[in-house]
Subunit: 573 residues, 2 copies
């Protein structure tokens, strides 16, 4: 492709709308253009990289036994009503009516429609395992679409669904897909980590997320370098610290003026924050709940929600607390609480002679014995794990990192085959429920995550496997006949070798061409200039390292071929 013909337009300014690097660079380098909030046009450069990601995905899904289909985007409401999710999805689902007034939605996900297909088409145990997938747009009317392709309202996803006759089969399919996902992200040239994850609205018990490691990633994860444990902090199991046992002291009220935070309180009383207990009030499906964690810990709302098994969870408003209990926020504590469920983190029972809010302004209780001086209804792991804590599996210190979720896999069990009655006949003629799994990859998100992980101040640094082009040829002065001839010759030779190359034949300053090349991020750049004409050499520059080497014109083709094939093969292992 010639730059003079290519539909590529780069921007010098950082667009105001873009907050994160990948979004900024995709706009600046001409990969995407916004059409409406969270809705984008993919320009030719993005389309080329997307096609490569999709090809890698297709190849790995097919190798794993997946069969590709295309499901409708526009889905009849009836199926969602049957599964019970028509209401659950709320405002995040795009809904519409056809000319006859029938209700439809734009698929935010496809469990319903594929379950319906399989219940109609499959009847015998012989047909399992069955792995079906598609690569297509999904629609979610996000409250706050942001970060470009990271959180759009129209986005490309690969979703695969596995169907098995029993839990064992499901687990086998899950492992096959887990392995296939590792291959996909390795081949895309990404540094990633698979972590245990919460299964959220999709459901099921076991789930993993595939996280591309990036400093500014939205997600936080912990991992153990000793054993292979890794988890999203949302999900990561905390190893409870047991403080040394103590004889009970005398519980009494202490005047603690201005001690409105744990830090101030510990300072004031000259104790460790570990000796304090924080009480937080939540509304869980309209019931008031008191959650307790040790003063130096942070509460994990997702764990709390899962422990309470509720659909809606939010911090209780001052008003809700006052209505129920009669007192204001601050200095709250569990002693004397009545009619409110108390859920405590696993560490709370081990805080002996604890300091706790006295439910009275500027007062705390000291020497409180949990379980004795106040009742605990439920003890669960409801706190956030911190860096350096013990790994729940091997007790080595945990590390923390940030990442971007690009894929997630779920063991759904019979969640959807129960609600949608997806059954089969087993070896003995018995009717049984099908076991499902589902497996998603955000295709556009993978591009964005790649950029978050691979960029510098000048622009994007594409891994060879998903770069829009492998090579850019930059003649310093294309109008110079001799330079042009060299450029054209190398261009044609690379094309004939099947290498994806862009020839920057534009009649503009060389500096602009270099800036564009760095911004767009082609892995290799061949520079043709006066030296080429005089000495018969060209400069080969690696985008990632800016490493530059001078090569004879007759060496350049084989050198480029070698680099590309070695970089592609490395990822293909």
């Amino acid at each position: 492709m010639r730059a003079s013909k290519a539909f590529i337009s780069t921007l010098r300014e950082v667009p105001a709308e873009a907050e994160i690097v990948s979004h900024q660079l995709m706009l600046r380098a001409g990969f995407i253009r916004k059409s409406a909030s969270g809705i984008y046009t993919y320009m030719p450069l993005a389309q080329r990289s997307l096609q490569k990601v999709m090809k890698i995905i297709r190849e790995e899904m097919n190798k794993a036994g997946g069969q590709e289909i295309i499901l409708p985007i526009i889905q009849p409401a009836e199926l969602w009503q049957e599964s019970g999710r028509w209401e659950v999805y709320g405002a995040e689902m795009f809904r519409l009516q056809d000319r006859h007034g029938r209700d439809f939605c734009l698929g935010p996900t496809h469990e319903e429609i594929i379950s319906d297909l399989v219940r109609r088409e499959v009847s015998s145990y012989k047909e399992f395992p069955l792995l079906l997938y598609q690569i297509q747009n999904k629609y979610r009317d996000e409250r706050r679409p942001r970060f470009g392709l990271m959180r759009g309202r129209e986005f490309i996803m690969k979703d695969l669904y596995s169907f098995d006759k029993d839990e064992e089969g499901m687990k086998k399919s899950y492992q096959i897909m887990y392995d296939a996902y590792e291959k996909v992200f390795s081949r895309c040239g990404l540094k990633y980590r698979a972590v245990e994850a919460d299964s959220g609205a999709i459901g099921g018990n076991i789930s993993h997320e595939f996280m591309v490691l990036a400093e500014n990633g939205e997600a936080e994860l912990v991992y153990c370098e000793q054993c292979k444990y890794a988890a999203n902090v949302e999900k990561a199991e905390a190893f409870p610290e047991k403080l040394p046992q103590e004889e009970p002291g005398k519980m009494e009220e202490v005047y603690t003026p201005g001690a409105s935070t744990i830090e101030k309180l510990a300072d004031f009383l000259k104790i460790s924050p570990k000796k304090t207990i924080k009480a937080l009030f939540y509304e869980a499906d309209d019931k008031l709940v008191c959650a307790l964690v040790r003063g130096d810990r942070e509460l994990n709302e997702i764990k709390l929600q899962n422990s309470l098994d509720c659909i809606n969870l939010q911090l209780a408003s001052e008003e809700a607390i006052k209505n129920k209990l009669g007192y204001t926020v601050g200095y709250v504590g569990p002693v004397g609480l009545e009619g409110v469920k108390i859920i405590a983190d696993k560490e709370v029972p081990y805080v002996y002679n604890a300091v706790i809010g006295a439910n009275k302004k500027d007062y705390h209780l000291v020497n409180v014995m949990p379980g004795k001086d106040f009742n605990i209804d439920l003890v669960e792991d409801i706190r956030v794990v911190e860096e350096g804590e013990k790994c729940p599996k091997c007790e080595s210190p945990l590390k923390k990192a940030r990442g971007i979720e690009v894929g997630q896999v779920f063991q759904l069990g019979t969640k959807y085959s129960d609600s949608l009655n997806v059954t089969y006949t087993d070896e003995n003629g018995e009717i049984k429920k099908v076991f499902m799994g589902c497996y998603g990859i955000g295709v556009g998100r993978t591009l964005a995550a790649t950029i978050e992980q691979n960029h510098d101040d000048d622009g994007i640094i594409w891994p060879m496997s998903i770069a829009p082009y492998h090579v850019v040829i930059v003649p310093v002065n294309y109008k110079d006949e001799e330079q042009r001839n060299y450029a054209e010759e190398i261009y044609q030779k690379l094309l004939s070798e099947g290498i994806e190359v862009l020839l920057d034949d534009r009649d503009i300053r060389a500096g602009v061409k270099f800036k564009d090349a760095d911004l767009i991020g082609y892995p290799l750049r061949i520079v043709i200039g006066k030296k080429t004409v005089k000495e018969g050499t060209v400069d080969l520059v690696r985008r990632a390292t800016k490493e530059e080497e001078s090569l004879a014109v007759n060496e350049i083709i084989s050198k480029v071929k070698d680099i590309i094939s070695s970089e592609l093969n490395e990822k293909d292992l």
Copy 2:
């Protein structure tokens, strides 16, 4: 792929919902499944064939200089309001609102959104010609979705848009795309014809449709075997027959009891139907119009609509005519008509001493001289061309055929750059309007049309280039170890040669496997049976001709390779 693992389910019965062959066969052979009216799931077999059609399209679009992008499916209303088509599209457009109450539609076509992109990104004449395309779902809420993939509400289309600086450039781009379309349909293995077409709601003056020839095609076309003229009958130019001039006779009313049709009238009066004139009343944008064609001709409503330049055209109701004129339908004629526009076909002025309805039950007027005895406001070509008539270009007799429109190309001129203000700066610094073209291919429709053209009583006959698999191997008895070994050996060898092969390893009767193979329509079938074990030969059957030949096992691989590569190359020319 092994049939035992493949997600293929065939049906013995013809589904009641399917009226035409391609729809019936796609359902029976397990290519598609209905999800809602006009909305389908594409099963793995269809997906494989679709991918091949899309690959051919991509290759030809890229060769022609097209650059692939992905435009949003969900489009903001503002753009459609700006172009004036938000209202025009009416009930056929799926509309929806997001959570903030903003209006969107699901793109029925993409002129607006691409014009918006180009007006924002392109500013100089240097950037033309620019050819951008995508392959994606389109949405049209058809009043009566039918015929499976022929007329769906959600369907896959390739749409390319060309942008040029002037009319000459547009015509050049148009020709390039026209040629590329010929290559696409040839490579798909189709017998087709490009015909002049009406440009309908998309607009512009010059348009061609690509018609796959098929007996049951929805469209009718005429073509000339001498010159290359071919046109959709909707558009085909009529060569007016001039009847011999006559001296005017005496106009008078004649009693013609029961002569309610032209045939009966001609019989009754013992004249040629050519001597009669038919009058038809239409409501054109709420105005009553009287259209005249010779009695033996058929009126062409699309030509009439174009001649009248109206948006809505329909036969006038009895009531509307009575309200306006005061008399009932039947025996109507133009003599004495007042306040109604009269449009006559080009042949009407050449009917001397014509017979015309007298506007009186059971009476006609004879010896009427058009233009003298009644006024004509407009003379236009408004009739349907018949087989055997003279070609408008070379006057040889025209032939008629039926076809299915699989693609259409349009010269749009400045229609959209006018309404959406798409401009560029020319060589002299002047601001000018961009000239556009648009070019569509129905991808799913191409599959359906292929089946309409290529099938027999037993099922589909796929052209090699878009068959879901090239070869099926049918071991008569897969349980027989020796047969199985032969089958597996041939299967592995074909796979290693990169040939797409399905091994029917199912433990079912051979007759069922043969029936399925014929129904699905794999181009080649290799049969392995007792003879294979005894004599070392296999039968190779061509699906299209049912031709069968016996080959030694060691010959089969090279034979199959030869057939496939020769059939693919033929189409690739």
